[in-house]
Symmetry: C2
Subunit: 204 residues, 2 copies
C-alpha cells in the first residue's frame, strides 16, 4: 500500500497545504490566488482541483488540523477537571480560545466560517459541522463528568446545558473573529460572565 503513487500523492497533499497555509497567512484567503498556490506547491492548477474540490476545501484541511489539536488538548480537562464548575468551564473554553489563533488568522477563520454556512454540503461544510458537533460533545462530556463527581446536580438536563454553553461560546467567538481589534482576554471574560448565570443554576 506504499507504492510510488501513494507516496507522491501524500507528498503533493502536503506541498499544497503548506503552500496554501503560507500564502493564506501572507496575502489573506482572497489574496492567495490558486495559481500562486499551484506554483509554490510545484503542481498545476488542475492537480490542486484533483486533490481538493475547491479553494475552500484547502482552507478546510487547515482548519481541521487546528480544531483536532484543540479537541485533543480538551480531553485532558474533561478527564481531570478543576474542582469547581466555573473553573472547569473556563479552563476548557480557555484551551479552545487560546489555541484558536495558532495556525489560523482571524481572516482565515472568517472565511472558514463563511464557507461552512454557504456550502454546508461540501466536504468542508460537512467536516466543519462535524467539528462543531465534536466540540459540543466534549463540553457535554465535561458536564457529565461534573455530574459524576457531584459538582453539577444530577437532575440537570446535561446535553441541553452543554449545547447552550457551546452555542454561546461559538457565537461569541464568531463576533470575536469578525473584529480584528477584539482581544482574547475580553472574549474570555465576557463568556465567563455569561456562564456565571448557568453555573449558579446547575451547580450543587
Amino acid at each position: 500500500m506504499s507504492g510510488l503513487r501513494e507516496r507522491q500523492k501524500a507528498d503533493r497533499h502536503r506541498r499544497i497545504i503548506e503552500a496554501a497555509a503560507a500564502l493564506f497567512r501572507e496575502a489573506g484567503y482572497e489574496g492567495a490566488k490558486i495559481e500562486a498556490i499551484a506554483t509554490q506547491a510545484e503542481v498545476s492548477i488542475g492537480t490542486i482541483y484533483n486533490y481538493y474540490q475547491n479553494k475552500g476545501d484547502i482552507l478546510g484541511a487547515i482548519v481541521s488540523m487546528e480544531v483536532n489539536e484543540v479537541l485533543n488538548a480538551g480531553r485532558g480537562v474533561v478527564a481531570n477537571p478543576p474542582a469547581n464548575v466555573g473553573d472547569a468551564l473556563d479552563t476548557l473554553i480557555g484551551i479552545y480560545i487560546e489555541h484558536s489563533l495558532h495556525y489560523l488568522s482571524k481572516e482565515m477563520w472568517r472565511q472558514a466560517m463563511a464557507i461552512s454556512t454557504q456550502l454546508p454540503d461540501s466536504p468542508f461544510g460537512q467536516a466543519y459541522t462535524a467539528l462543531d458537533r465534536a466540540l459540543t460533545e466534549q463540553i457535554r462530556a465535561l458536564i457529565a463528568r461534573l455530574q459524576e463527581i457531584r459538582l453539577v446536580r444530577a437532575d440537570i438536563d446535561g446535553p441541553a446545558v452543554g449545547e447552550l454553553i457551546f452555542n454561546n461560546m461559538n457565537m461569541m467567538f464568531i463576533e470575536f473573529v469578525k473584529r480584528d481589534e477584539a482581544k482574547i482576554p475580553d472574549l474570555r471574560a465576557a463568556i465567563r460572565r455569561q456562564n456565571r448565570i448557568l453555573v449558579g443554576a446547575i451547580g450543587t
Copy 2:
C-alpha cells in the same frame, strides 16, 4: 430635494431590489447572475455597481427589510409579555423564527450569514451586525421588562442573560438554515428545552 434625479434614483433602487429578490428566489443566490438582474431591472451592469458595492449588498438590502419587520413585531411582545418567563421567551423567539422565512429562503439566509462573516466591514456586514445587536437588545429589553414585573429576579445579570439567550438562539438558527430538511417546530422545541434551564435559574 425631489428633482428628477432623486426620483429616478429611488426608482432604480426599487427596480434592482425587486428584480434581485425575484431572481434570488427563482434561481438561488448563485444562480441569479448580475447580468440577469440588470436586464430585469432595466439598468446596466455598471449601474447596479453604482448602487451597490457588490452582489452581497443587494441581498443585504433584502435581509434588512426582513429583520426590521421582525424587530417591529417583537416590540409588541416586549411591551406586553405573557405572564411567565418561559412563555415570554418562547413567544418572542417564536415571532423571530416564524417570520424568518417570509421573504428569505434558507439558501438566501445562508448566503447572507456567510457574507456578513466574510466581509464584516462591508456595508452589509456592518448592517447585519447592527441587526444582530438590535435583536440582542430586544431580548435584553424583554428580560428587563420581566424584572420590572417581578417575573425575573432583580439580582440577575440581565444583559448577560439576554446575550446568552440570543447567542444560543442565533446559533440554533444558523444550524437550522444549514439543513434544508430541518423544521421550524423542532427548532423551537430545541430552543425551549435549552431555555428551560435558564428559566429555572432566573425566574422568581
